[in-house]
Structure formats: C-alpha cells, structure tokens
Amino acid sequence: MGWFKRSPWLLHYNATSCNGCDIELIASLTPLYDLERFGIINTGNPKHADIFAVTGSVNEKSRQVLRNLYDQMPNPKVVVAVGICATSGCVFQDCYNVLGGIDKVLPVDVYVPGCAARPEAIIDGVLMACGILDEKYAQKKREKRRGAQIGHE
C-alpha cells in the first residue's frame, strides 16, 4: 500500500514565473536537498508524471499550455502551486494581463507560499501532495467498487 507516496514523479511548468521559484525547485534536486531520496524524479514528461508543480501567476498564453499538460497526465494526479504568485498572484494579482493564481485554471491540491519558495518548503509541499495522491487512488477504488455493487444490484 501507499506506492504513490514512495514514487511520486514530478512535472514542472513555468507559467510566467520570474524564474525565482523555478531555480529553487531545481535546487531541491541538488546534492544538498536531494529530492530523489524520496523517490521523486523530475520527469519533464506529463505522461510519466504524478505531481504537477506549477510556478508563476498564469496569463492567457500559458493557460492553454497548463490545461493541455494537466489533461495529458494519467490519474491519479495532484497539482502543487509553488510560490506566492502561483498561489494567489501576489503583487501582480490586479494586473490586467495575469489570471492571478493556478487555481483559476486547475484544481490545486497543495499551496506552497514564499517568494521565492524555499527548497525545504517545496519538498514539504511535494511530500504532502504524495499523501493526497494515495488518497485520490483509494477514493477512486472505492467509487469503482461501489459502482460495481450498484451494477450487481
């Protein structure tokens, strides 16, 4: 049980971020923080990914890409909004050109605040997302079983 918790593969997308959070996200792969010790791999391929880490305060252009990437990921999947821009839009939220937060486009499961978000905070958020992955899988299984039971009746 709990295989998702042990092997979460990560997809990272920069939705008009200033690159600060992206650098921190990549930094958490370095020997100092070493994300891989939790089995986390930065895949760069939506079809392999379980966790979608998004940075930046989404605009009209990146919205389509974001949606496209999310749709290509196989279930169960979770979205992690990394950085305060991805969480709420931060100081840019009133700007005409940004949507202000990933949750305007995708259902976000974990919010990691910070400008830029620290690698420790990112790792914490990603590990929290792992738990949600397992929950989502269990829930789907329950629904399937219930569906089968209803079918029998």
Partner: protein, 294 residues
C-alpha cells in the same frame, strides 16, 4: 558452488526456464536499485532506497492506462515476451545464437513501439535506437562466434562448463562486449534513445508516449535484459564460478562508473566508435585466434 551446475542439470529445461522467469525480475530490480543508489553516491547525493525500482513499477501499475492508439502496448508486450524468452533460453543452457537472435527481435519490437505513435520525440528516440542496434549487434554476434571458436559449441551449458578460462582466449571480444554493454544498459555516453536520468524531453526518447502500465512493462523488460546481459559476462569467467560472480558484479559497477563520468555522445560518434572498437578488439581477436588454432 559447483553444486549449482549439478542442481541445474537435474532440472528439466522447463523448470530452468521457469526459475529464470521468476527470479530474474527480482535480481534485475535489485540491481537497478543498487545502480541508482551508487550513482547518487557518486554524485554526492544520498540517493533513493535500494527497493525504489520496485516502488516505481508498483506505482506505474496502479496508474490510469492512457494509450494513444490500440497498437501501442502490443509491441511492448512482445518486447517483454521475447526478452523473457531469450533470457530463459540462456539460463536453461540452450543455444547462444538463438538467444542473441531473439534478443534482437525483442529490440525490434521496442523500436516498433516507439514508431507506432505520432510524437516526434518518440520517433527521434526510435531512430536513435535503430542506430544503436546497428552499432552493437555485430559485437554481440562476434561474442557468440568467439565463444564457439574456443569451446567448439554454441550451447550455453557447454560453454559454462568449459574447463579453461575463456577470457584468456578472447580478451578482445570481452573488451568489445564491455563496450557495447554500455549501449545495452542505456548508460552515458550511449544513452541516446532513452535515458534513466532526470533529464528532459528528447532524452525520454521511445518512452515519451508510454504511461502507467505500459511504462511498467518497459521497466520490467529492462530488468530481465540486465540479468541476461550479465549472464553473458559470467560466461567469460565461468571456469571459476566465484570469480565469475565477482567479475560480473565488477562489470556492473564499472558500467555505473562510466555512466557517471561521460557526457552523451552524438550518434555519429557513438556509431563510429562502436564499430571501430568492434573491429579492433573483437574481430582482430577472432582472426588471431583462428590463425593460432590452425
């Protein structure tokens, strides 16, 4: 240690094949885990647990099955079946040539799997895989030829029980085999078609369009492949089983070391250098041996 051979001989061929089918994925997965751990340590990282490849596969099997077209998983299934078949033949002590040919067929199905989707990344990976196959295939056949020249038999059981050390007769062939082993293990500098490293896009190559259970099958196939390839390394030292085991482990660690130390080659260089090395080390060794035996 010689008891293993006697035990093997007592079994029927089907039992030996079944033993391979059951034990090889455990050994291969463990080796993959050790690979990742050692690689991480060489990079100054802590690294994932040794059981990580098993966790990955169990997770992938639980993921949703997304396929691009209905043929996509079919070649991959054949890739797995033919790899298992060739490995089972090898460890049952059957013909080495047949093992090699069915391994080549398995590789062909993997390439077809890459070509049957429309992603350009996948196509690029499959094209590179073809070039790699072209690069390593001569040396694999030369390995079988060299072993035949020394022992007078293509049967793995006969080669494994040959009284003299094979490595003293065909050191060049062994060197050549070591060279192409890097390609077969998908290690740098030859991991053109797909890589296990945390790089992106093009590097995922053939596996780009595979997700969930399909990707799990590819992983499991690689475990079988690893065990089979290390089995061929074992044959070179089979006159002393303990030495052979140590050398097999040393070869595996050596490949990891090479992987960590080299950047990726361009395909031209990968292809040319492999054929050159095959000619210089492998072919010349066989020519010399045939002159000496005359």
């Amino acid at each position: 240690m010689n008891g293993i051979y006697e035990l093997m001989q007592e079994w029927y061929i089907l039992e030996r094949m079944l033993a391979f089918v059951l034990i090889a994925p455990l050994a291969g997965g463990l080796l993959a885990g050790i690979d990742r751990k050692v690689s991480a340590r060489l990079q100054g990282r802590y690294g994932p647990p040794v059981m990580q490849p098993f966790f990955d596969v169990f997770k992938l099997l639980r993921k949703e099955r997304i396929i691009v077209n209905k043929f996509q998983d079919f070649p991959i299934l054949l890739f797995l079946l033919f790899t298992i078949f060739s490995g089972a033949l090898f460890f049952a002590g059957a013909d080495l040539l047949l093992t090699i040919f069915s391994m080549a067929l398995a590789g062909t199905f993997f390439i077809l799997g890459g070509f049957c989707v429309s992603s350009p990344y996948s196509h690029l990976g499959a094209e590179r895989e073809i070039i790699q196959t072209l690069a390593y295939e001569p040396m694999i056949i030369l390995t079988a030829v060299g072993m035949y020249q020394v022992t007078g038999s293509f049967k793995v059981a006969d080669i494994a029980q040959y009284h003299a050390p094979l490595i003293l007769y065909i050191p060049g062939v062994f060197a050549g085999y070591l060279y192409i082993l890097t390609i077969k293990f998908r290690k740098s500098p030859f991991d053109l078609s797909m890589s296990h490293h945390a790089h992106q896009e093009i590097v995922r190559g053939i596996t780009t369009e595979f997700s969930g259970p399909g990707l799990a099958l590819i992983e499991i196939t690689h475990w079988y492949e690893t065990v089979l390839l290390l089995g061929i390394v074992y044959l070179f030292f089979a006159f002393n089983p303990w030495l052979a085991l140590v050398m097999t482990a040393a070869t595996f660690l050596f490949e990891i070391f090479i992987d960590m130390n080299y950047a990726r080659f361009k395909w031209q260089l990968a292809f040319l250098s492999t054929w050159l090395f095959t000619a210089v080390a492998g072919a010349s060794n066989i020519i010399l041996l045939s002159l000496m035996q005359r």
